[in-house]
């Protein structure tokens, strides 16, 4: 298993060296999540570091999305969900925080682009408006900045008032990223953000992530192991609701300590 460099031929995007050791932004301990009787997460102990890109991989149904959605408590939109254990965000108990507040700090991007049936402008301005920003001038600025950060500004600046549904899939996904960025989150959770996109769009979004991680901590779920290898600093491998392995991305792909990880990243199942 020494040939894994093949998985990420474009390592150009990765920041390899780090000068200071980063602080923990999320910390989950003995975290368990059930959907009714389905035990989706089992005793998850993970520490996610600030200003890193953390990738979560694993076969379908292993609990990747559930874990991600626990971090901003979106998992609770399903009323059947029960949670036990602890989860901290910046050192404070997130499971008992005000969700509205938590979520405005922890943004999320979904697998399928999900713009609102509104104009491009209103999509981006939605979050700031929610949080009480009404002044046109400020909103204009936020919209522009966010779209720029999402590398979408040039493509849409002339049609801000047309419907978001008119955009291509890749553009929609970047719009959703811009929408999240508009409220200046400190973390961005991304659940297979490129799996519905074409190669070119995928590449754009990957570049974008690399750009963003200067300001924002990113946690990304992906089923594409090469992607994980390309863009992440650290990777967690989930299986059947458990963390099999969590380590530097290089070590996960080059010298996994578990045979299961080895089998998975080499496509022997999943």
């Amino acid at each position: 298993m020494t040939t894994l460099t093949n998985y990420r031929p474009t390592t150009r995007l990765r920041v390899v060296a780090r000068t200071e050791s980063p602080a923990a932004i999320f910390k989950t301990e003995e975290l368990n999540v059930w959907y009714g009787k389905t035990h989706a997460l089992k005793n998850i102990n993970l520490t996610i570091l600030e200003n890193e890109v953390t990738a979560i991989i694993g076969p379908s149904g292993c609990g990747k999305s559930t874990y991600l959605k626990t971090l901003n408590r979106m998992v609770e939109t399903n009323p059947a969900v029960r949670i036990s254990g602890t989860a901290q965000f910046k050192g404070t108990d997130l499971l008992n925080a005000t969700v509205e507040r938590l979520r405005s700090e922890v943004g999320m991007v979904f697998q399928k682009p999900n713009p609102f049936p509104k104009s491009i402008y209103d999509n981006v301005a939605y979050g700031p408006r929610l949080h009480g920003i009404r002044k046109k001038a400020i909103l204009n600025e936020i919209v522009e900045n966010s779209l720029k950060k999402a590398a979408l500004w040039d493509e849409v600046k002339d049609r801000l008032s047309s419907s978001a549904f008119g955009l291509s899939g890749g553009q929609q996904q970047r719009l959703c990223i811009a929408r999240s960025l508009a409220i200046e989150p400190t973390v961005l959770l991304m659940d297979e953000p490129t799996s519905a996109l074409d190669p070119v769009s995928t590449n754009k979004v990957e570049e974008l992530m690399n750009e963003l991680k200067k300001d924002v901590t990113i946690v990304i779920v992906t089923h594409n192991m090469q992607q994980a290898a390309r863009i992440s600093d650290r990777t967690a491998f989930f299986l059947h609701g458990e963390v099999v392995e969590y380590a530097q991305t290089e070590s996960i792909f080059k010298q996994p300590s578990s045979q299961l990880t080895d089998d998975y990243v080499n496509g022997r199942f999943g």
Binding site: N72, M74, T77, P79, A80, V99, E100, R101, L102, R103, S104, G107, M108, F110, K112, N114, P115, F116, P117, Y126, G127, L130, H131, C176, R179, S180, I183
Partner: protein, 294 residues
Amino acid sequence: MQKPLQVSSQSRIRFRLLKDRFAKLAFASAALFGLLILIILFIRITSEGASSLSLDFLTGRFSTSPEKAGIMGAILGTFWLLAVVVPVTMIVGIGSAIYLELYAKNGKLKAFTQTNIGNLAGIPSIVYGILGLTVFVRALKFGGVVLAGGLTLSLLILPIVIVAAQESLRSVPEQLGDASDALGASKWQTIQSVILPVAFPSIMTGAILALSRAIGETAPLVVLGIPALLIPFPGGIFDRFTVLPMQIYYWTLDSALVAEYAQLAAATSIVLLVSLFILNGSAIFLRNKYSIQS
């Protein structure tokens, strides 16, 4: 490879295809049967009633003499009735649906309420008439006025409005609500700025269909004691009133006495049907238009 089973001889396939074609014909005729009846019914009613249909008939007052009779009073009565039914069912119906669909915790209470609404939708309309008679007409002493009729019919169609609105809310892609929630919106903010706007056309469709049900109802009004012979026009929700279906009922019953009444009943039926077709048609149109988008 040996093929021990002579599974598909040409003649057998031909026979199976023939059966299929014959069945298709039978099924299609069954589906067309409804359409056919609709056409017969409409032709029958038009041929009977068209000659009585005139501007005078539409704008005239009720009368026992067929040549003078008009249905303006019943038309106005229907409008006043809607003036009660529309706000009541909209507010209570959509409100209940939002509660049940978006706020209520899954549990015994919600399941009970939901089952209850389902069963309410299946209670014969005449039982609602008895409820209205006992509560609104007698106990609250409204008498047979628009308000009593309107509230009775509101209760009657509420379950339909609630269920339809719930379905509309449920059909809003979950991802839209998720997107809003993930931006830190409060529950009501998400409902107000994302879910309701998206669900609205579909909620309206359901509401219009339910309203047309209310417009066509007769049995509860008969029980409430809504008169058929009423000459003054109703001018508000505290006035006594009559409606188109009651007029049809009266004229159909008395067509044995005055043959021309059958024509009046038919003419009134045309008016009622055309209004309902317009209402239902617009609802179906709304639905088709918006269901393609989502």
